[in-house]
C-alpha cells in the first residue's frame, strides 16, 4: 500500500480533508437505525483488507499532519502527557508493542532492528532514525511512552491494574472528545466515567470493567465510540473549550454540510506484558456530514440516529442545540427506505437516494 500523506491543518484554516479512500474506509459506528450504549466489544485481531480494523495501529493519510498538530498541543500544554512514576515500565511495554506492530504491519514505512537491548528505529514518514538502549530511559529524548506516542495517531491511556480496578496513571491526550488527562490522572475506572449519563444505571461500566480486567496478552479487543464536532478539530479539550466551544455557534444551514463532523473513536485494548498494565489507544476519525451522505445507507441511518437519540445523550455529546439544524440537513438524505444491518456502507447493494419531489 502506498499512502499519500496529506499536508493539512486541524485548526485555524482547517484544511483537513478526507480522500475517497478515507471516506470508503471510515469506521461508521451505527450498525442499526438507532443508538444506545453497549459494551460492544470484539476481538482486535485484524479485519477486512484496507479497513481501519486491519492493522494493530492504523496509519492513514492524516498521519504526518496529526503528529504535527500533537506537537503544537504539547508545546502549548505539556500536562497533556503525564506518567506517574510507577508507569515507566508500562511505557517501555507500549513502545515495544507499537514499534514491533508498525514495523511488521508497515515495513515500507517503519523499521525496527534489535540486537539485544540495542534498538534501531526508523520512522520514514516523520524522518526519524534513532538508536537507543531498550529499558534505559536516558537514551531517548522523552520518556518511552511520550517518545512513541508522538509518532502514533490517537490518544493513549495507560491503565494500571490493581485492586480489581483500572487506574488512569499515564497517558498522552491531545485528540480527545472533551475530557482532560490532567483532571483524570490517578483516577479509577468508575471515577473517570462518573460524568457519563445513563450508562451507570444500566450497569454498563461494571460489565465493561470486568471485561477489561480480563483482557489477556495476545488477545486485544476493540470497540467504537462517537460524538459530534464542529470543524475538523482534533483537540476538543476542556482546557481549550474557550477556543472551540464557541465554534459550535458558527454553524448555519449553509455551512453545516462541510462544517459538521461525525467524530468516531476506534478504541482498542492491549494487555502489556512486563507491567501487566492495560493500554487503551483511542484513535479519532473525523468525517463531514457532506462526505457521510455520499453513502446512501449512512445518510439514511445518521438521520434516524440523530433524530431518535435520547435528549440526555445529545446533551452529553454536546449537539443538543444544533440538533434541529442537523436534522433539517440530514432529513433530505432520508427517503424512508429500509437500511441493511451492519456498519458497512454496502454501496453496491443499497439503493440510491430517491430525491423528494415536493
Amino acid at each position: 500500500m502506498n499512502i499519500q500523506f496529506n499536508d493539512e491543518t486541524f485548526r485555524d484554516d482547517y484544511s483537513f480533508k478526507n480522500s475517497q479512500r478515507a471516506i470508503d474506509r471510515f469506521p461508521f459506528p451505527f450498525h442499526e437505525d438507532s443508538y444506545m450504549y453497549s459494551v460492544n466489544m470484539e476481538q482486535h485481531q485484524g479485519g477486512p483488507v484496507d479497513s481501519v480494523y486491519e492493522k494493530r495501529f492504523d496509519v492513514d493519510e492524516h498521519y504526518v499532519s496529526e503528529m504535527r498538530d500533537r506537537e503544537m498541543v504539547l508545546a502549548d500544554d505539556p500536562l497533556r502527557c503525564q506518567s506517574l512514576p510507577h508507569m515507566t515500565l508500562a511505557g517501555w511495554d507500549l513502545l515495544e508493542l507499537i514499534m514491533v506492530s508498525k514495523s511488521e504491519d508497515y515495513p515500507e514505512l517503519f523499521e525496527l532492528h534489535r540486537e539485544g537491548a540495542n534498538w534501531h528505529w526508523i520512522n520514514k514518514p516523520l524522518g526519524i532514525d534513532d538508536r537507543f538502549v531498550f529499558m534505559d530511559d536516558t537514551t531517548l529524548p522523552y520518556g518511552p511512552m511520550e517518545y512513541i506516542t508522538r509518532q502514533t495517531q490517537g490518544d493513549f491511556c495507560v491503565l494500571d491494574q490493581r485492586e480489581e480496578n483500572l487506574w488512569m496513571d499515564a497517558g498522552i491526550v491531545t485528540t480527545q472528545a472533551d475530557w482532560s488527562l490532567d483532571f483524570d490522572i490517578g483516577m479509577n475506572f468508575f471515577e473517570w466515567h462518573a460524568p457519563v449519563p445513563l450508562a451507570h444505571e444500566k450497569g454498563i461500566f461494571k460489565r465493561a470493567l470486568k471485561f477489561l480486567l480480563n483482557i489477556q496478552q495476545g488477545a486485544p479487543a476493540r470497540r467504537l465510540n462517537w460524538t459530534m464536532t464542529v470543524n475538523p478539530l482534533l483537540d476538543t479539550s476542556p482546557e481549550n473549550y474557550h477556543k472551540w466551544g464557541v465554534q459550535k455557534m458558527s454553524l448555519t444551514p449553509q455551512n453545516l454540510a462541510e462544517k459538521q463532523y461525525l467524530r468516531v473513536e476506534l478504541q482498542t485494548f492491549f494487555r502489556l506484558p512486563r507491567s501487566n498494565a492495560l493500554v487503551f489507544p483511542i484513535r479519532c476519525y473525523l468525517m463531514s456530514f457532506k462526505d457521510i451522505v455520499s453513502k446512501p445507507k449512512w445518510g439514511r441511518r445518521l438521520h434516524r440516529v440523530v433524530r431518535d437519540i435520547p435528549e440526555e445523550l445529545a446533551t452529553y455529546k454536546g449537539f443538543i442545540d444544533n440538533r434541529p439544524m442537523m436534522l433539517e440537513f440530514l432529513s433530505r438524505y432520508d427517503d424512508g427506505l429500509p437500511t441493511s444491518f451492519g456498519v458497512w456502507p454496502d454501496s453496491h447493494t443499497e439503493p440510491a437516494l430517491i430525491e423528494s419531489t415536493s
Binding site: 442499526e32 470484539e42 476481538q43 485481531q45 485484524g46 515500565l89 494500571d160 490493581r162 489477556q216 456498519v343
Partner: protein, 332 residues
C-alpha cells in the same frame, strides 16, 4: 460495534490464547518437586510476561483432558524458555502425577499465554514476599523482574525441611541479604508480627503457599493495620472430588452428569459446550455462571463470589464448586 467486521469474531471467552510447546528439560529438584521447561514448537520466541503470571497446561491423559494452572517461574525476560515447577500430589486428582510420571522430554504439549492474577504493585517502595513450600514459584519470576529494575524486595521462605527446599541454594547464593529461609523441622518459623512491624511505609506484602499460611499472613497483617490494598495473595484451588450430580445446561439444551472426580467445568467442556475460564482455580471470576433453577445444596469453594451471592444460590463458579440435590439448571 455490535456488528463486527465479516471476518472477525466475538471476544474469545474460553481461556487465554494457546501456544504449542515441546518439553525440553525435566529436572527433579527433590523428592516432590520437578521443573519442566518448554520451548515453542515452531522455534519462535515466547511473549515476555510479568512476574506472578501463570500458564494453563493442557494434559492429554488418555481420553481425559486436564487443564491445570502453574505459575511461570522462569525469568520473564527469557523468551527462549518457559519453566514451571510442579509438586507431586499423590492424593490429588492426577494432574501433577501425570506431569511427573507420564511426560517425557520431546513431548508436544499446549500451554496458554501468560495470565497474571498475582501482579506486583509497581507503586510499592518495597516488596515483602512470604512463601510456603511450592508457593515459592511466582516469587522466583518476580524476583528476577525486580533484580533487573533495581527493585527493593525481601523474601521469607518457609519449607518443611532442607531436603524439600526447592531453589533454596540458588536463592541464598545469589541474594544472601534479601532471602531468609525457615525450616519447620528446625522449629524455625517466620516471626511475622515482628517482620511486619519493621517494614517501611509503602511496603506491599505478598503471600503464596498453603491455605492456612495465606490466612495467617492476611489476618496478622490486617490486625496490624495494613491496608487491604497492600496485601496480595494467590491461592489456586484444585477442584475437590465429590458426589456425582446432574446439571441441565439450558442454552445448550443438554444434561450432563458430573463425575465424582471431575469438576463441573470439566464436565461441561466434555460435552463440547464452550464455557469461559482463565485460572480454573476459583480466583479469576471468568467462569461465573448464572443459576436458573436449583433444588439442593451448593458447595461453593471459590474466592470470587461474595458470601451473600453464595448464600443466594444464583451464581456458581464451575471450576471448583459443586452441587448436591435434585435439580440444577445453569444458563450455559
Amino acid at each position: 460495534m455490535n456488528v463486527p467486521a465479516p471476518n472477525s469474531t466475538a471476544p474469545k471467552l474460553t481461556g487465554a490464547e494457546k501456544i504449542d510447546v515441546t518439553i525440553t528439560a525435566i529436572v527433579p529438584l527433590n523428592d516432590l518437586v520437578t521443573r519442566f521447561e518448554f520451548k515453542r514448537s515452531d522455534g519462535s520466541l515466547f511473549p515476555t510476561f510479568s512476574g506472578g503470571a501463570h500458564t494453563v497446561v493442557e494434559m492429554q491423559d488418555g481420553d481425559r483432558k486436564r487443564l491445570n494452572p502453574y505459575s511461570l517461574m522462569s525469568d520473564p525476560a527469557n523468551r527462549e524458555t518457559f519453566a514451571i515447577s510442579v509438586r507431586r500430589d499423590d492424593e490429588g486428582r492426577g494432574g501433577s502425577l501425570f506431569m511427573h510420571n507420564k511426560v517425557k522430554i520431546g513431548d508436544p504439549m499446549v500451554i496458554s499465554y501468560p495470565v497474571n492474577l498475582f501482579s506486583l504493585d509497581l507503586r510499592a517502595r518495597k516488596h515483602l514476599f512470604i512463601a510456603g513450600g511450592i508457593g515459592i514459584t511466582p516469587f522466583l519470576a518476580q524476583i528476577k523482574q525486580l533484580v533487573r529494575t533495581n527493585g527493593n524486595w525481601e523474601l521469607h521462605y518457609s519449607c518443611r525441611n532442607a531436603s524439600l527446599g526447592s531453589y533454596v541454594d540458588e536463592l541464598t547464593q545469589k541474594y544472601p541479604h534479601s532471602v531468609h529461609i525457615h525450616y519447620d523441622d528446625e522449629k524455625d518459623f517466620i516471626d511475622l508480627e515482628n517482620l511486619l512491624h519493621g517494614q517501611p511505609i509503602g511496603t506491599h506484602l505478598y503471600v503464596c503457599g498453603p491455605k492456612g499460611m495465606i490466612e495467617w499472613v492476611r489476618s496478622t497483617a490486617g490486625a496490624a493495620g495494613w491496608p487491604t490494598a497492600h496485601i496480595h495473595y494467590e491461592e489456586f484451588l484444585a477442584p475437590k472430588p465429590g458426589k456425582p450430580f446432574a446439571v441441565r445446561l439450558a442454552k445448550s439444551g443438554v444434561t450432563v452428569k458430573v463425575g465424582a472426580h471431575e469438576s463441573l467445568l470439566e464436565a461441561i467442556e466434555r460435552l463440547g459446550v464452550e464455557a469461559p475460564y482463565l485460572c480454573r482455580g476459583g480466583a479469576c471470576g471468568q467462569c461465573e455462571t448464572d443459576v436458573i433453577e436449583s433444588d439442593g445444596a451448593f458447595m461453593h469453594r471459590d474466592h470470587w463470589l461474595e458470601d451473600e451471592e453464595k448464600a443466594l444460590g444464583v451464581k456458581i463458579m464451575p471450576c471448583v464448586s459443586r452441587f448436591e440435590g435434585k435439580t440444577l439448571v445453569l444458563d450455559r
